[in-house]
Subunit: 271 residues, 2 copies
């Protein structure tokens, strides 16, 4: 999917919500456990109930790998389901991969070609040649970790470097890489005060913002500094939406939670 | 596997060789492609031919993910084969994972419990709570990226931070984390001059050293500064061993390459 198609979808749905599909068998309604593939069944119902309110879905690969081959099959079925039934949806593999060049190429092939995700999250620590193999793919997006929302995000990302802090060095340096137009960045919602300075470095790139909801971030303050004229934000919420209900009506409960956020987003977009 | 068992194995085999199982179907002998599981068949033959010369095997997960479900099955069969037939071998999932705490726990479960690897490589960018879930596991090893051997390793890892350079901050800070005795570190062989300063920070931790062979690193100069009295090094070689031959005798060719390195290591250990 190209950038304009994503922007069109945001304008049409009046939403920039991304729903994280982090499926934990201990948290889904117990009646689903007797299904042949409970993870996929859960995802399917969540997606069917929320696809008009969200522009993106983001399965975190860790939750699938934790279930071995069965988990990978569920991931494959989930992405195939979205691509077949809702091709307008932007899909993100939250995989946080990154390795030496010939190895990163393998990950890029796995997620962009075989699974046909629109985007993948990538860790920056190994630098240019670990990221460029992802950027090579046309109409695919590489979402680089910049400033993450977890506590440990402050251990190294905000260390002072000669010109600024590490996460700003990551932002600035990545803009010099080949096909840097295909970049987006992960910036945690738990630090809305950082968005102003980040927008000075990357005024137009999309930012994927986790941390709204269970992690405690605030939508209004993120948008105050992070929003661009094309929106430029994808706000992710996982647990607070997908685990809003624990009974047979869990998908309806998820829809209600997503609707609350979408309505807040509609006001912000119209403002 | 605990540290002492690894050291015992090194002393017994007079080797600190780790063989990278980075299987590319385009590079393995073509006659294997008619097998039901060519990747596993290739690995099995390589392992059977080299297990007396190597103390560790390190499949890079990217090469398996690139083949989807079939790749994951081949990875599962490979680790199960090693654990069943050669339980003394130290196994490393070269996965370079790392995410927020509850997600890193998922990766730890997948690789330490379900697949039963002895070790996994982890990226440090997200800090303490992204790594500690791996360190929680007793008799399992978390190999943190410190200074990698690729060109992009210099983009951020050697940036000056207030006290030193980023990779040294990673080393020092990680020693303050819970269960830091379970840490090992990735340090690339292409920069042997760095080993002296690294050993001042981590005098006893094991270092996993990629970059000997195809990436051009030099065993002698790495050992000069990196070796400890318990060895403290695992030297990885992937392509130069596993692709030494392209015909039916490929496993024998791999054995001959591994033997050359093992003999060099024996001299170094006796010195």
């Amino acid at each position: 999917m190209n950038r304009q198609e994503l922007i069109d979808q945001i304008q049409q749905k009046k939403s920039f919500l991304c729903i994280g599909l982090d499926v934990d068998l201990a948290k889904i309604p117990t009646y689903l456990l007797s299904e042949e593939d409970p993870i996929f069944e859960f995802n399917k119902q969540i997606i069917d109930a929320t696809h008009q309110l969200a522009v993106a879905y983001k399965p975190n690969t860790a939750f699938y790998e934790a279930y071995g081959i069965k988990g990978w099959l569920a991931l494959e079925k989930t992405i195939n389901y979205i691509n077949a039934k809702y091709p307008e949806i932007f899909t993100i593999a939250d995989a946080k991969r990154g390795d030496i060049g010939n190895t990163s190429s393998r990950y890029a092939k796995a997620f962009f070609e075989d699974l046909n995700f629109d985007a993948i999250t990538v860790a920056p620590y190994m630098g240019k040649d670990s990221v460029e193999p992802f950027l090579d793919f046309e109409n695919k997006n590489t979402i680089l970790l910049a400033l993450t929302s977890n506590k440990g995000g402050m251990d190294f990302q905000t260390l002072k470097t000669p010109e600024n802090e590490l996460y700003k060095s990551v932002l600035k340096t990545s803009l010099t890489w080949k096909n840097s137009d295909n970049l987006m960045f992960v910036v945690g919602a738990t630090r809305p005060e950082y968005f102003k300075e980040i927008r000075e470095i990357v005024p137009n790139h999309f930012l994927l913002v986790p941390g709204i909801g269970a992690q405690g971030g605030d939508l209004q303050s993120v948008c105050k500094f992070g929003l661009t004229k094309e929106c430029g934000l994808l706000i992710n919420s996982s647990r607070s939406i997908i685990y809003a209900g624990k009974e047979k009506d869990f998908a309806l409960k998820a829809q209600q939670e997503a609707l609350k956020i979408q309505q807040e987003m509609e006001i912000i977009l119209n403002y």
